[in-house]
Amino acid sequence: MTELTCLKAFNDGLRQMMDADDDIFVVGEDVGRKGGVFGSFTGLIDEFGERRMVDTPISEQAIVGLGIGAAVSGLRPVVDLMFMDFVLVAMDQLANQAAKLKYMFGGSARLPVTITTNGGAGLSAAAQHSQSLEAMLCHVPGLKVVMPSTPYDMKGLLVSCLRDDNPTVLVKNKRMFGVKGEVPSELYEVPIGEARIARQGADVTVVAYSRMASESLAAADELAAEGIDCEVIDLRSVQPIDIDTVVESARRTNRIVVVHEAVRFAGLGAEIAAQVSEHAFDYLDAPVARVAAPFAPVPFSPALEACYVPDASRIAAQIRATLDRGQRPSG
């Protein structure tokens, strides 16, 4: 075990995987000499050279398409899209091609492509560099989507993605790169589709992922002082979702609050609320609540962005309201 940041855990995991398998290469904008826009790929070009750290033109469709063509030809590409917002530029290749080829071809294709990208708000990057678009990706059969919240999960989920024969999307949250945690030095997998109970509790279940999992834990700490015992589930994967763990917890605590950074309307919270109502309706003592961004683009000014992105205090306020059986906190 070593203490690493999320960024270093990603970098270390990738380096070890590339070292073990020549079929793995990285392709994207500024992944080579620059080492990635946030430093995710720092130093890898020194070890693996330009053959395996491929700087490309600014061409998201062709970058993803290159990954698909290389994958069906037997390689295991890591395709980097600098910002999650740019997923939209590549959506045909992602959603119409990568996600569907296996099924359309009657199972004969294998598509071990890992798409890595950086999502989330909070850096005053405004509406085209701050989005959380996971719901759009989760809606497409054939894709898997993971959103780790700790250095341990970052490395373990990256390894799982790289070993998976399906197109996977790994979303790093831009405000979590510096978060530290214990990470084993050897390679290990965190299974895709398995949630983690980050904190056990009896009064209410908070379901979150990515940076909102840490915000939810902070809210739980705050509420513990008030005698409220929160269970926090970190989904880790948002496609597939570990709904069993969520439902089992809901049946114990009888209250659910879902938290995400993406906008509330048609977000993951809606899907989780629906599935919880299908499988735990009779156990619920309050409506499933959601804490999420409002239905607006991400604003630029720090003064506005602070109101936009959910945080521990808003999560805590919603938990209190849910425990009071009210739907929404006042104010």
Partner: protein, 334 residues
């Protein structure tokens, strides 16, 4: 460039006739209402797929288009599995999950027909990347139409292949129509190949009704790519005899009868047969025998497809993902 051997001429011919007879049969079955969905027939363009694929190695990959049957046949596709797929049968190439627009045979390095115009072009570039990465000497071919060169994916892919010096052949089948709209209404240039210069790749314009011309242009471009010379662009001037979709489906009148006749008078199949007879590569009797043999293969394919079972509804969710079905099944109601 030396003229193709008699063996190559016969090889090209067989590929063309297999496409022609398969497509004519598929068109008849479709118009008779015995085939579901859409069908985009390749009839008229045979010299392109046959000329290109005859110049390729087995390990060279091709990506294709919505008008993709010809590319799979030319790569050596099994007509029975193709016909079964077109009919939505379990024995088809895709088990009935893809249909006409997604026929593929990855074992033959045919990376699939594609329902999105231009969508297959970046995929061919990826295959070319893999070939360079492995230094295996293989090349990839992106087939696409004139209309596809107007979509962003084509531009990104062409520029990427040139920038990364990948062994990729961009083969434009210019049949002069983007669905029902004539090419001169969708671009302000006379020859699509003019676009190649913008990517810094060599471009050649050939008569796409002349299989030998297509073969020779492809062989030259493939040689160049195999030797590390990067991508090339080959524009094949060709024509589809039938409608964008089906044979006469939709009944839209967007081309004059004279225009269609003018192109049909230059039919690539009899033209190639005449050439073979004139150079002594095949006798008329032998040509007739090959046609009969392939007609029997097509009849057998139809018989196979019609006798094949429909897919089992239990397989509806199979192959969404590789590996164990890890989409979690809903829990039983509480």
């Amino acid at each position: 460039m030396t003229a193709p051997s008699h063996e190559v001429l016969r090889d090209i011919h067989r590929r063309m006739v297999r496409i022609r007879l398969f497509e004519e049969a598929a068109g008849r079955i479709f118009e008779a209402g015995r085939m579901p969905g859409f069908i985009h027939l390749y009839v008229g363009q045979e010299a392109v797929a046959a000329g290109v694929c005859a110049a390729l190695r087995d390990d060279d990959q091709v990506s294709s288009t919505h008008r993709g049957h010809g590319h799979l046949v030319a790569k050596g596709g099994d007509l029975s599995r193709m016909m079964a797929e077109l009919m939505g049968k379990a024995t088809g190439y895709c088990g009935g999950k893809g249909g006409s627009m997604h026929v593929c045979d990855l074992d033959l390095n045919m990376l699939g027909a594609n329902g999105i115009v231009g969508g297959g072009v970046p995929i061919a570039v990826g295959a070319g990347f893999a070939n360079k990465y492995r230094a295996n000497g293989a090349v990839s071919v992106a087939f696409f139409g004139d209309g596809a060169t107007n979509i962003g994916a084509f531009h990104e892919a062409a520029n990427m292949a040139a920038a990364l010096e990948l062994p990729v052949l961009f083969v434009c089948e210019n049949n002069e129509y983007a669905e029902f709209t004539p090419r001169d209404q969708t671009m302000a240039i006379d020859d699509v190949v003019e676009r190649a210069a913008a990517y810094g790749m060599p471009g050649t314009k050939v008569d796409g009704m002349d299989a030998v011309a297509v073969f020779e242009a492809t062989a030259a471009a493939a040689d160049r790519a195999r030797q590390g010379g990067g991508p090339s662009f080959v524009e094949c001037k060709t024509y589809r005899y039938y409608n964008h979709h089906g044979v006469q489906t939709l009944g839209m009148k967007y081309r004059s009868d004279d225009e269609v006749k003018e192109w049909r008078d230059r039919d690539p199949v009899p033209r190639h047969e005449d050439l073979m007879v004139s150079v002594g590569a095949m006798t008329p009797d032998r040509i007739a025998a090959v046609r009969d043999e392939i007609a029997a293969e097509v009849e057998a394919a139809i018989e196979f497809a019609e006798q094949s079972p429909m897919p089992d509804p239990a397989d509806l969710l199979a192959d969404v993902y590789s590996g164990p079905a890890d989409q979690r099944q809903p829990l039983p109601p509480a």
